[in-house]
């Protein structure tokens, strides 16, 4: 009873909820659920890079876009099977992530932030201006998906696919964070000099952080193209970066489960404000500012303090701030 709301129970309840959602939800609610699952993938990937490895990179939305464009275009132009297109999308996003990582390894802090902001804008520019391939600013429609032997409704098909991917990749990421890799990331975040003197290969582990986070972003992008059925450059602009950042920050930087909670919680907010661009900006910008100023550890730091049984290794503790 005392540990009713422990992390394990809450997560298990979440899994059960998302598993049962297709049975009772109407298509719109199902779509929101699907978005939430996709944002979980994004937030896990971003949290690894930003929260654990401490790399202030803005390239995440661009990689998300690369995944979405690759998947959508392969499906549209070559008529590739969605699964294959998705794998290709993840592949190209990962390669792009590696391409970002190589120069980014030389940069730190503000320099890294500036370079990756520029990279994100350049990618957006390519999406908007490379008309012959990306269909320019208006974007393109992805042909309807086909999950025929399993289900006749494509939205349920994408939902289940997203759910399965989340179910596999989030625990995978969690294990990775608790392994040598995750500990190396936290050491790099706290002090590169100290990490290096402990024998941690900084180049190697930073590259791993970029590549793994790009894989999550690419998978989320491919699923996004599939569930929305339309790909436009606007979905990957700087405001999206803010939405991703907000989820991770409000949930808790450097806490995988905090990021997951943030993703699920803020999808609802985004949907409510969908029609009001200015209110979205005020809400997400304000939430980032509020969290950073008032509860630097994010929502998860409150959970840790007030809810028994909410423990997490490698989290950012109070006196780190």
């Amino acid at each position: 009873m005392l540990r009713l709301f422990s992390r394990r129970n809450v997560m298990a309840a979440g899994v059960v909820f998302f598993a049962l959602l297709p049975f009772f939800a109407n298509p719109y609610v199902l779509f929101i659920g699907n978005l939430a699952l996709m944002y979980i993938l994004l937030s896990v990937g971003l949290n690894m890079l930003l929260g654990y490895a401490g790399q202030l990179a803005f390239a995440h939305a661009a990689l998300f876009g690369v995944g979405a464009y690759t998947t959508g275009l392969l499906k549209l132009e070559l008529g590739l099977h969605y699964g294959l297109a998705l794998v290709a999308g993840v592949g190209l996003a990962t390669v792009t992530g590696l391409a970002v990582a190589l120069p980014a390894l030389r940069l730190r802090g503000l320099y890294l932030a500036l370079a990756t902001v520029a990279f994100a804008q350049a990618t957006l520019w390519v999406f908007t201006h490379w008309n012959s391939v990306t269909y320019g600013g208006a974007g393109f429609r992805v042909p309807p998906l086909d999950f025929e032997p399993f289900t006749s409704r494509p939205d349920i098909g994408v939902y289940v696919l997203t759910f399965v991917i989340v179910l596999v990749s989030v625990p995978l990421g969690w294990n990775m964070l608790r392994s040598r890799v995750g500990r190396a990331w936290v050491a790099i975040r706290e002090s590169e000099v100290a990490a290096e003197s402990l024998g941690i290969d900084i180049t190697r582990y930073k590259s791993i952080a970029y590549v793994v986070s790009a894989m999550y972003a690419g998978a989320a992008g491919g699923l996004f193209a599939g569930m929305l059925g339309i790909v436009t450059p606007e979905s990957f602009d700087l405001f999206q970066v803010i939405v991703h950042f907000c989820m991770v920050i409000v949930g808790g930087l450097g806490s995988l489960w905090g990021g997951v909670l943030g993703a699920v919680g803020l999808v609802g907010l985004q949907e409510v404000l969908r029609a009001f661009r200015h209110l979205q900006e005020i809400a997400f910008g304000g939430l980032i500012l509020f969290t950073v100023l008032v509860i630097p550890g994010g929502a998860v730091s409150l959970l840790k303090r007030y809810v028994p049984g909410w423990k997490e290794p490698l989290r950012r503790t109070e006196h780190d701030e």
Partner: protein
């Protein structure tokens, strides 16, 4: 063609230089980059728009009101973002200023955006808009006004920064905040002043620029990236470098847009940032010592 491109590059470059000055000013004294600087610029432009177009005040009065409003907004940024996080790591500060920038952008969109036909509003020219010949090429009077205005503000700012008491206090704080504090300078006030002054110059730049382009809540981020490119090119933290970098970015953009491909005008700033940071992080004539954060 060439002379025309250079001329328009110089006049936009002057604006970039003005925005970059504010960025460098804040960076030098606090060690942080203000990611909301572009939005301070945008907001200043909209304050002038309100005065000039909606309330019908003269251009010059609008400029003054916008500069004062920009100062107030810069002070607000200092009080709400910088002061509470003064000891926080660089990462936190970047996230906070990014959040603040979107907050301002949303507020601006609430007041001035989302009209029919998009978020753009036209800012009528302050002077006769027909082009006049200067030394064989046709230039818009507004471009001359921009150039003159930018020159004026840069000179005034330089005098302020080098000769006045406040300017010297800013320099001292930038050099060594602890030593400045020990010699009786109220460092916190200097920080407030620094944020305010930076936003001031950005607002003035916005008022000068608005008649040449259109004004929209999204314009700030573009200008911020141009200013980043300018500061990075000139060496992050170098004031003359930022001014020269601003002009260079303007000219490079204009030439790339004119001779290679029009689309390149938008993207050249990003390419400059990436190339300079990867291959020569100290900038063209930058400080040798590389700051880590």
């Amino acid at each position: 063609m060439f002379a025309y491109l250079i001329a328009s590059g110089i006049s936009t470059g002057a604006l970039y230089a003005m925005v970059a000055i504010g960025l460098v000013l804040v960076y030098r004294s606090t060690g942080h980059i203000n990611f909301s600087h572009g939005e301070l610029f945008m907001f200043g432009g909209f304050i002038a728009y309100t005065c000039f177009v909606i309330l019908g005040m003269p251009y010059f009065v609008s400029l003054v009101v916008a500069v004062i409003g920009g100062f107030a907004l810069g002070v607000l940024c200092d009080r709400t973002v910088y002061r509470p996080l003064i000891k926080a790591p660089a990462l936190t500060m970047v996230l906070a200023t990014v959040g603040f920038s979107f907050l301002i952008k949303g507020v601006a969109r609430f007041f001035w955006g989302a009209r029919e036909g998009g978020d753009y509003v036209a800012f009528p020219a302050a002077v006769d808009p027909s082009p006049i010949p200067v030394g064989g090429i046709m230039v818009f009077p507004q471009q001359l006004l921009v150039l003159g205005g930018a020159f004026f503000f840069v000179v005034v700012f330089t005098i302020f920064f080098r000769r006045t008491r406040w300017g010297k206090m800013m320099q001292a704080t930038a050099e060594n905040a602890t030593a400045a504090y020990l010699s009786g300078i109220r460092v916190e006030r200097v920080y407030t002043m620094t944020w305010g002054t930076g936003a001031c110059i950005a607002s003035a730049a916005a008022v000068l620029m608005a008649p040449l382009t259109l004004l929209s809540p999204d314009v700030g981020f573009n200008l911020l990236l141009r200013a980043f490119a300018a500061t990075v090119l000139g060496g992050l933290g170098s004031m003359p470098g930022a001014i020269i970098g601003g002009f260079l970015v303007g000219i490079i953009e204009s030439l790339a847009g004119g001779y290679i491909h029009t689309g390149l005008q938008e993207v050249s700033a990003f390419i400059i940032i990436i190339v300079v940071l990867v291959f020569r992080p100290a900038g063209l004539f930058g400080i040798r010592r590389l700051r880590e954060t």
